[in-house]
Assembly symmetry: C2
Homo-oligomer: 321 residues x 2
């Protein structure tokens, strides 16, 4: 099932190859600024808007890189993943662009909108029970039947190399960044950011931002080993998953610190961005600004990039309503 | 009080002068696209995102042009207007950039958020009763006291020349547009669009989009004279005001047609844009897409620019909640 080497650490050459490969399928997203939020934080902030990315999330980058790096023979059998979040949608998007099958295994309890998003790009949803054992059993069956290539949401070097293209754009769009802050869940975006910046902008510090209610990465960082939580509960629903071997490698070696924010702080930062910057983004994407607002001394006077990771939010259930 | 000639029709030279004058104070806003919405409409749509403009609306263009075209002597006395919408906020923004006083007369019943927006940029709010007679009396008093320059929200050639810079950018950003659709209220944006396109892109057809519940412009267009409604009621609250002499000139001479949409169609189009394009915009800004969705034959196969006029919406009172 796994043709991809699970222990390979992607490098800068992989990022450049990814960039060339995925350029026709992803947007070079804009960088937005807000004078108001700059004054509030005392920092100069640059928001890299991956909510405006294809399929509404940065995960279109990694998914496209995985899908378009398959041989024709592999590709014919399709791709598969288990994800009830943006990775499933984005893998379906990328597979659709290549014209190959995509199967996403999701708990039957996942929101209908998430299932519709996968189907909207032509993917197939296979439901499992909402448990790890059921998910693994159903997923194994899907792969055995189809021979589809498994594309993990983040612990996959092709995916990390794809996500790494985001900060490669950012440092072309904004010069002299003192720091970049990105949300951390499984660590795919942070790993890609580390890959690129540690090579191309080694003076730029990298901070990961995490909900306090799902602070397994922060605790892992301090403990020096991966700590996984069981079903954490946070409004930032993209950030509940634990680190894995590949992402832990980058976090341990290249991240300056992992900062946390409470649920209220996340929602407040989210509303501030919607109100002032006029963009629709997910709670997960608000965690970086939430941590900057509460760590003023760390960022004041600095030029700071923030990754707005995605915009797929249920407009009927906004967290401030 | 009125130093500005109320009958002067601005021309292309005025637009170019405005563009040079306001460039330091306004954004060159991005143009966004959505493959999904293109497929839905059968047209190729280009959304000019003035919701991402300074102060959250295209009106920052016209207000900046008026403010920065004042002599130092005039400017010292400040500017004044009556507006409970984006014009008041944007005039306050522009005056703040020049460092001169700005007074906005608003009904005491106007939403607190609107008053706060004016104050947030340093402007002064003077309240009147919610009636035309009270507004006129209070406004006359403000001007008599201060000698402030009146900047009308749209029936002012400096304002129209400023709004005209928006479509000048658009036709640089997108080549070969068959049509541009912009919302119509008082007609400032449409007039600016007519000014620029009739000169620089005469083959591009100009459509105005209006709520059916406030279709005074559409009825004026058919009747051949200005018809004003008394207090129309629509979710598109930026589009309730009537045409005036200057804007009527452009509407009558350069607009191909005025299309209307119902309240439900407007809200549906608004939600579609939020969901698919991940931007926060006002109900008024959704009227163009609403009219394109219901006039499919008119736009299918065409390259169409839409002006997303503003993003100042109350996040606690979204029209689908």
């Amino acid at each position: 099932m796994l043709d991809v080497d699970p222990f390979y650490i992607p490098n800068l050459g992989d990022m450049y190859a990814a960039r060339e490969r995925i350029t026709p399928y992803v947007h070079r997203t804009p960088v937005l600024t807000s004078r108001f939020i700059n004054e509030l934080t005392g920092a100069e902030l640059f928001f890299k808007c991956e909510n405006l990315q294809k399929a509404g999330a940065f995960k279109a980058r990694g998914a496209s890189n995985a899908v378009f790096s398959l041989t024709d023979e592999q590709a014919a059998k399709g791709v598969a993943t288990h994800s009830s979040g943006n990775h499933g949608t984005c893998l379906s998007y990328a597979a659709g662009r290549r014209g190959i099958p995509c199967t996403v295994v999701m708990p039957r309890t996942a929101p209908q909108a998430k299932k519709d998003a996968v189907k909207g790009y032509g993917g197939r949803v296979v439901e499992c029970e909402p448990s790890t054992s059921s998910r693994e059993a159903v997923f194994a069956e899907v792969v055995a039947e189809s021979g589809a290539e498994f594309v993990h949401p983040y612990n996959d070097w092709r995916v990390i190399a794809g996500q790494a293209t985001c900060s490669a754009e950012l440092i072309e769009q904004v010069e002299g960044l003192d720091a970049v802050v990105a949300p951390i869940g499984g660590g795919g975006m942070i790993s890609g950011t580390c890959l690129t910046l540690s090579n191309l902008a080694p003076k730029t510090r990298i901070y990961a931002a995490e909900p306090l209610n799902a602070d397994d990465a922060a605790r892992s960082f301090r403990a020096g080993r991966i700590i996984a939580d069981d079903a954490p509960n946070t409004v930032a629903d993209g950030l509940k998953v634990p680190l894995k071997e590949l992402t832990w490698h980058f976090v341990r070696n290249n991240v300056s610190d992992i900062l946390t924010a409470t649920e209220d702080e996340i929602v407040e930062a989210m509303k501030l961005i919607w109100k002032r910057m006029k963009i629709v983004m997910e709670p997960s994407s608000a965690v970086p600004l939430a941590t900057i607002l509460k760590n003023r001394d760390l960022f004041a006077g600095k030029r700071v990039g923030l990754i707005i990771t995605g915009g797929n939010v249920d407009l009927d259930k906004l967290p401030w309503n």
